[in-house]
């Protein structure tokens, strides 16, 4: 779907119709979004129940946590659908993709609304399967179908864990309805931990925490870009939603029943590992969309840092801090949805224009597609948590909660919070580096391929979709106060006790006190820029500027191939962290006259993801070995089969006869 097929008249009309449909989706998703916003602001909630076959029922409910996620979903679906309207017009997307997109989106809504186990499971799996089909929707792309297989299987296994968790709930409470379970689980004791672990594994698979993330960097890039925007933006958040729903809402018994300490510690550590390793792998990627996918792993990690910290705080009975950490997590969930969606859309139009995902074949795009470039830049700045954009605010809150954790909690948790803080700091720097690379290599400099040379700006609808999200990035960055007001409507431990502030302001009080006024910060930045713009006019007066070739050390001509490549950009880190990356480097040289005149030098460098080489590959190999050796049981020998019958009979006779 990424490649432009020659547009026939029929494909043009299909394109028109499907883009119209996408606009309909965009309009449609406003309704639930606004309703959910209302529920959130005024604390409404509702509950309906429909009969299902087999004496089961589908219950749905709104308000609180689910309303918040519905708002996120609607915001993103709105922009992505507008984007897709332009996207579908030019890519030869089959009809099925359009329908699947609808199923995918509506199943995500249903997941967030689900209020009992059957509904949740059914729509959860529908969401997974429809996204699977979207990943493989370009049926001839064999790589996509491989990625799809991995994704499908992993998500199915994850669902199995979720099912198990739910079944334990049912066993403990005898009910399938979340509200009743919530009430009934208070006395469940040890079972709560069982449920928590199962749920964490199950939902973690979807959220893409390390080491359950393997499917993510494969499946997200393989999907069409508008879908990968939704997958990375919202779908993996459904994993976060699940973790919050089970471990805080349901297991919290609604009344903030404190979680055991080790839950928080586990979540915190998982978050730290995921954030650091996710972004480290992102840094090494040449494939633009895979880079973004890995950075999603990182951001999920950051969100989990907040969740874990909040759990620890509520265990230590510090509600306001718990609220703060949770607010940070939820806030970052929204922010990540926004800028990751934006980035995937930008990447989508870049890939669409150049026909490649490899950044080392792009370059110089910002001159050819200025708007896309600008929006991508906004996204990059936001995701690097640089002020005055939204990423900064949520990371600031996370930092605050961690620091306060170091101050207040017991030594053990102190240490964990400390490490988490260091991880977060490291993450920030790594993220900055990888997005300098992502933007710099693919949008700046000189085109590295003819396709990049010939790239065209994306159509207006696609730009509109990105533009809205860029604006949201800025607004969420400079009006955090409104966000906290929104969050305090969610009935989760501590969120009620969040202090309220002036819309522009954000502050922590209580154990500590600090705060930022991002709007003033923005003002300061503008003031500084204005100053330095005016100062030279006063001091130096107007000077003309001469255009020339860049400095080339006296070589007469600099070619695009002499630019710094993405690989070269990250080479130092590959060397410094070789313990972690385990880079495989091979250099192949063809000589004309050895050893002086070379015809061709090929340099290939790859890194081995640990989780795969040390967990998944062995697992799959083991399974295959088992299967192969099991074939001997079905050797085709009739006597053997008769022997089975005899054996079974004799054994049963001896045991029970």
């Amino acid at each position: 779907m990424e490649t432009d097929r020659p547009e026939t008249a029929s494909s043009k009309t299909t394109g028109k119709i499907s883009s119209a449909c996408y606009l309909l989706y965009a309009a449609g998703c406003l309704i639930p979004g606004l309703l959910a916003l209302r529920d959130l602001l005024f604390g409404y909630s509702w509950h309906v129940s429909l009969p299902l076959s087999g004496g089961l029922a589908l219950s749905f409910g709104g308000g609180g946590l689910s309303a918040y996620f519905v708002v996120i979903l609607s915001l993103l679906v709105f922009c992505v659908s507008i984007y897709s309207a332009g996207y579908a017009r030019h890519s030869s997307a089959p009809w099925s993709a359009l329908i699947l997109y609808g199923i995918f989106v509506s199943s995500m809504y249903a997941v967030f609304y689900s209020a009992n186990i059957p509904a949740f499971l059914i729509f959860w799996e529908t969401m997974s399967l429809s996204s699977y089909f979207l990943v493989v929707s370009d049926t001839e792309n064999i790589e996509a179908s491989r990625a799809g297989l991995l994704y499908g299987v992993m998500t199915h296994v994850g669902t199995a864990f979720i099912m198990a968790a739910f079944m334990v709930m049912f066993f403990a409470t005898g009910s399938l309805e979340f509200p009743i379970i919530k009430a009934g689980l208070a006395g469940a004791g040890g079972l709560r931990s069982v449920i928590f672990v199962l749920a964490l594994i199950g939902f973690g698979t979807k959220a893409g925490i390390i080491p359950l993330h393997t499917w993510l960097p494969r499946a997200h890039p393989a999907a069409p870009s508008n879908v990968s925007a939704l997958m990375s933006g919202v779908m993996i958040k459904s994993g976060i939603y699940g973790i919050l729903l089970v471990s805080l809402d349901i297991l919290g018994g609604g009344a903030g029943l404190p979680a055991p300490l080790w839950w928080g510690v586990v979540v915190l550590s998982v978050g730290a590992v995921s954030s650091v390793k996710g972004i480290m792998y992102a840094l090494m990627e040449r494939d633009m969309k895979r880079l973004l996918a890995y950075s999603s792993v990182e951001n999920v990690g950051i969100i989990l840092l907040g969740v874990g910290a909040s759990m620890i705080f509520s265990f230590n009975n510090l509600p306001s801090l718990a609220g703060l950490a949770l607010a940070a997590a939820l806030y970052h969930t929204l922010n990540h949805a926004v800028f990751k969606g934006l980035l995937f859309m930008g990447a989508g139009s870049a890939v669409h224009a150049t026909g490649t995902k490899n950044m080392e074949e792009m370059g110089g795009l910002i001159k050819r597609m200025p708007w896309t470039g600008f929006f991508f830049l906004v996204g990059s700045v936001a995701i690097c948590a640089l002020p005055p954009f939204n990423g900064f605010m949520s990371e600031w809150l996370t930092f605050q909660s961690l620091i306060m954790g170091i101050k207040t909690s017991v030594v053990l948790t102190k240490t964990f919070m400390l490490l988490a803080g260091a991880a977060l700091a490291l993450t920030g720097a790594l993220a900055a580096s990888s997005f300098v690379k992502a933007f710099g290599i693919s949008f700046l400099g000189v085109p590295r391929s003819h396709e990049a040379e010939a790239a065209k700006e994306a159509p207006a609808t696609m730009l509109l979709g990105m533009g809205i999200l860029s604006a949201v990035c800025l607004l969420l960055g400079i009006f955090p106060g409104y966000m906290l007001r929104l969050l305090s409507g969610i009935p989760l431990p501590g969120l009620g006790s969040l202090p309220q502030f002036a819309p522009g302001g954000l502050a922590v009080t209580g154990v500590a006190c600090s705060g930022v006024l991002p709007i003033v910060l923005l003002g300061a930045l503008l003031a500084g820029a204005a100053f330095i713009f005016i100062f030279p006019l006063v001091a130096g007066g107007r000077r003309k500027s001469i255009c020339a070739d860049p400095w080339d050390c006296g070589i007469r001509k600099l070619t695009p191939r002499m630019q710094y490549t993405a690989t070269a950009f990250t080479h130092p880190l590959r060397r410094i962290f070789k313990k972690i990356y385990k880079p495989r480097k091979e250099v192949r040289i063809e000589y004309i006259v050895k050893p002086f005149f070379t015809r061709e030098i090929e340099y290939r460098s790859e890194i081995t993801p640990l989780a795969e080489s040390y967990f998944y590959r062995p697992l799959v190999r083991a399974l295959h070995n088992v299967a192969h050796s099991a074939k001997r049981l079905q050797s085709g020998n009739l006597q053997l089969y008769l022997g089975y019958i005899l054996g079974t009979l004799v054994i049963l006779l001896v045991v029970w006869g």
């Binding site: 110089g364 640089l386 600031w396 400390l418 400099g445 300061a524 500084g528 500027s545 860049p550």
Partner: protein, 315 residues
């Protein structure tokens, strides 16, 4: 009045640079350039025409403004000599707390500048620019954790990341944790300001330069902005070190000195730090790039130690 204290950084940062150069020269037994040389350089550069590479986009033109603006904005967040309750552009600011800007905000605002500096280096599409940005970001990655941990120590000790609060709670200073943290922070400053042994500010030998590599294509006005921003960043970091680790003698602080006295204290601290920097530069030799991790790793260990001692001892 105090709300304009950042002007000191804006105006005096070239002087600090000059002083450091002078001290280095004297240590190396040279006469060295006059102390005001940086001002002369800036003035000259502002007057010169610019040579713009053909290959660049608006990022190249925008970067100097963003870099300068970010450093300036960051320095507006920092109490220079007065952490008074009423001071600061946004004292209170409806945020329900007193004092001046936030340390994390400061660091991240500086990071914004670095982000665009690196982009500006990449925009021309030359090898040196790329090399410079790559190395700059790498160094940043190595420095960030130790710097943040060092800051955590101060923040946790005073129970806030608010520079005003930190500077006001002068009770604890020179606890072992803070000494270690200061050491780590100092190494971080060396790396951030591109000083020997991490980077050589005076070289233009392509293969070794980091900061200069990114500036290679810049000239005239833009180069002036970049350099000025660099000076300001250096002085800002000095000031931060002072605020975080030996805030003694600030106006409006617990001790509550007068403006003049506080300014004097600040100048003294700056001189000390300049001397320390010069000393470090002229006693060390520039390291190979791939030896840096050991140095910065050491810094990280220092800051981690400081944090741990604090966690254990509680002071």
């Amino acid at each position: 009045m105090e709300s304009l204290q950042f002007m000191l950084i804006l105006l005096l940062s070239p002087l600090a640079q000059g002083i450091i150069k002078k001290i280095k020269a004297m240590m190396q037994g040279r006469r060295g350039t006059p102390v005001l040389q940086p001002y002369y350089d800036l003035a000259r550069l502002f007057k010169k025409d610019m040579v713009i590479p053909r290959t660049v986009s608006w990022i190249f033109h925008g970067a100097p403004y963003v870099v300068f603006a970010s450093v300036l904005a960051a320095s507006m967040l920092v109490p220079v000599f007065s952490a008074g309750r009423s001071t600061g552009l946004w004292a209170g600011g409806g945020v329900g707390f007193s004092g001046i800007g936030d340390i994390i905000a400061t660091i991240y605002t500086l990071a914004l500048g670095r982000f665009f500096l690196a982009l500006g280096g990449l925009d021309a599409g030359t090898a040196f620019g790329g090399e410079g940005s790559s190395r700059e970001m790498t160094v940043a990655i190595l420095v960030e954790p130790s710097m943040m941990l060092a800051i955590f120590t101060a923040a946790v000790a005073s129970g806030s990341t608010n520079l005003g609060v930190i500077a006001n709670s002068g009770s604890f200073f020179f606890s072992p944790a803070h000494v270690l943290a200061l050491a780590a922070f100092f190494v971080a400053i060396i790396a951030e300001t591109g000083r020997i042994p991490v980077d050589n500010p005076d070289t233009h030998l392509e293969l070794t330069m980091i900061h200069e590599g990114m500036l290679l294509e810049y000239s005239g006005k833009y180069l002036a902005m970049m350099e000025w921003a660099h000076y300001m960043k250096q002085m800002l970091l000095f000031t931060l070190a002072a605020d975080l680790f030996f805030p003694y003698g600030m106006a409006g602080a617990g001790a509550g000195f007068g403006i003049a006295a506080a300014a004097g204290f600040w100048a003294a601290k700056m001189l000390i730090l300049c001397f320390g920097m010069a000393l470090a530069e002229s006693t060390r030799a520039k390291m190979r790039f791939f030896q840096l991790p050991s140095l910065l790793g050491a810094a990280f260990v220092l800051s981690a130690l400081s944090m741990i001692t604090f966690v254990m001892t509680g002071k």
